[in-house]
């Protein structure tokens, strides 16, 4: 396979990274690399190994095998130098509830060894950036979920990181807050910050990520640009019909069409069949029959299956 990053500077290089917890294989074999300035996504169902991969990347969890380099440095030995230059946004809001909004930023700045004057200055800038200046004296548990998320984001930026690591940054947010977070991430990317992100939301990944991997059972299933993956695995258009008739099933099988039957519903990936929708609606449509764009969610479900993960 052609290296999509040939010639580019690698910010993260995970090579056959592996993570075992006693008998459980959390990450089996994950290889990926992120170029400077890239927004890279890790997608996968629950338990696929996303968070373990993230935790290995910033050195909170030692690798059981393989190697992981950030900024060209080995995370196993040079974790401190690496962590000076990255920001991490955890999945759960682990803000310091013993302190106020501004204090959370200033004390966290202290963990990076920033002077008090510098901490104060950066806290002010970041409070403006996340539009939380008006709540700077509030206690953390007085904030809404969206505000907390923005504060976690601001906190992860306190050391002006070159690489930002975000574990499900918008889970549990309302659409307004989610869009605001996306907005900020786009701004950061424009400023040249490299971003590694995990998410459950395919729309989010498709919108934000330059490239992504879909992982499952601790292994990389596919890697690529969102649009390329859609084109390769589902095509630009998808037909959904319900209920699906036996005649339609026979038609799909006889023609060798790429399709999935889910109970009474059928999903048909059109790929190169421009006139398929016309044929299908004229001959086989009994109820609802819709033509829509192929999405990353189609790719995701096709590759990782539709069983529930718990």
């Amino acid at each position: 396979m052609e290296d999509p990053l040939a010639g580019a500077e690698h910010i993260i290089e995970a090579t056959h990274a592996r993570k075992l917890y006693d008998d459980l294989v959390a990450v089996d074999d994950v290889t990926f690399s992120v170029a400077r300035g890239e927004l890279f996504g890790i997608l996968g169902p629950n338990g696929a190994g996303k968070t373990s991969t993230i935790r290995m990347t910033y050195g909170a969890s030692p690798l059981s095998g393989g190697s992981l380099r950030v900024f060209g440095l080995d995370i196993a030995t040079e974790w401190r130098a690496i962590r000076e230059r990255i920001g991490v946004c955890h999945q759960d809001d682990n803000l310091d509830t013993d302190m106020g909004v501004r204090e959370n930023l200033e004390v966290f700045a202290g963990f990076f060894g920033l002077s008090r004057a510098e901490a104060r200055k950066r806290a002010s800038e970041l409070l403006d950036f996340i539009e939380l200046r008006h709540r700077e004296t509030a206690q953390v548990n007085e904030l809404s979920g969206g505000m907390m998320r923005r504060l976690v984001l601001a906190r992860s930026l306190i050391n002006e990181p070159e690489l930002l690591i975000l574990d499900e940054p918008t889970t549990g947010l309302d659409p307004q807050s989610r869009h605001q977070v996306w907005d900020r991430l786009t701004t950061l990317k424009e400023r040249g910050v490299s971003i590694l992100l995990t998410t459950h939301y395919m729309e989010e990944a498709a919108r934000l990520c330059d490239r992504l991997v879909i992982i499952d059972h601790g292994r990389v299933l596919v890697e690529g640009k969102p649009r390329d993956l859609v084109a390769q695995y589902v095509g630009s258009q998808v037909i959904e019909m319900a209920p699906v008739s036996d005649a339609m099933r026979e038609f799909a099988q006889a023609r060798g069409l790429d399709h999935e039957v889910l109970g009474t519903r059928m999903i048909l990936y059109c790929k190169d069949h421009e006139d398929l929708f016309r044929i299908v609606t004229e001959r086989y449509c009994q109820g609802n029959c819709t033509l829509r764009m192929g999405t990353l969610e189609d790719v995701f479900l096709k590759l990782t299956g539709r069983e529930l993960r718990e």
Partner: protein, 263 residues
């Protein structure tokens, strides 16, 4: 696999500073307890016990019961302050507030986080000891200059009890389980470490047992300091015991917490 040495630097003071800043918000509460506790005890034992136990004899000295007991108040307060800070409070930060997880995404090692917490617990011991010493000095129950040694003693005692507290924090599954070490470890020490009566009134086997308690040595040192009677020998034996106890518990606390948090 742990290479503790390079992982522990002065950066632990950044963690200490976080605890200090949070504590400043409730400073009045941290001072009220050590301020009034000795007053209450001195009043209760000074007034109420005076007729029952007029005097106590220890190391060839005959003193009032209040004067005998007062140094033990400082010693137990050193123990409780560090122990509670590094059990309940540290557990809340680790388990519920996920404060350590956030810190471990910064250039801090787990060893520095835990050291900062233990040194903070010892700081609370020192603050309590200073306030109590001042109160008891006003009551003429602390002699100087040796009374000033109670401050470094509080630091050493705080590190000792904070370290063993942190070991429990690294081991317990649930916050309620701290009642076990409190009942099996703290309470017997509180009662039998020469706190409320001289150890030599105990049977031989119990005396030998009592000398294995770290609190016994803390009380012994605090009492000799309060009477200006500290000898080099006592300082070496009891002080040496506390140093060894800390020297054993502190690295163990770091290892237990690393095993718990770095997975």
């Amino acid at each position: 696999m742990s290479t503790a040495a390079p992982n522990l630097t002065w950066r632990f003071m950044r963690v200490w500073r976080r605890d200090w800043i949070v504590n400043l918000k409730s400073l009045h509460i941290s001072f009220l307890v050590p301020l009034f506790e000795p007053v209450l005890y001195v009043a209760a034992f000074g007034v109420g016990f005076r007729l029952l136990i007029p005097q106590v004899t220890f190391s060839g000295l005959t003193v009032s019961y209040v004067a005998f007991m007062a140094p033990a108040l400082i010693a137990t307060s050193i123990m409780y302050n560090a122990f509670f800070e590094n059990t309940f409070t540290s557990f809340v930060r680790m388990f519920y507030q996920k404060t350590y997880d956030a810190m471990l995404a910064t250039p801090l090692s787990i060893e520095e986080v835990i050291t900062g917490e233990i040194v903070w617990g010892a700081t609370k011991s020192v603050m309590a000891a200073i306030v109590m010493t001042a109160v008891l000095a006003v009551c003429r129950l602390v002699a100087f200059p040796q009374g000033l040694l109670l401050v470094p003693l509080a630091l050493l005692g705080g590190l000792a009890f904070g370290s063993i507290a942190m070991i429990f924090t690294g081991l317990v599954k649930h916050i309620d389980m701290f009642n076990l070490p409190i009942f099996l470890f703290l309470t017997p020490m509180f009662l039998f470490s020469g706190t409320f009566f001289p150890i030599d009134t105990l049977p031989d086997w119990a005396q030998r047992l009592a000398y294995t308690f770290p609190l016994t040595h803390l009380v012994t040192l605090a009492r000799s300091m309060c009477f200006n009677l500290l000898t080099w020998k006592a300082a070496l034996i009891s002080g040496g015991y506390l140093v060894l106890f800390t020297g054993f518990c502190f690295p163990l606390a770091l290892r237990v917490m690393r095993r718990r948090l770095i997975k």
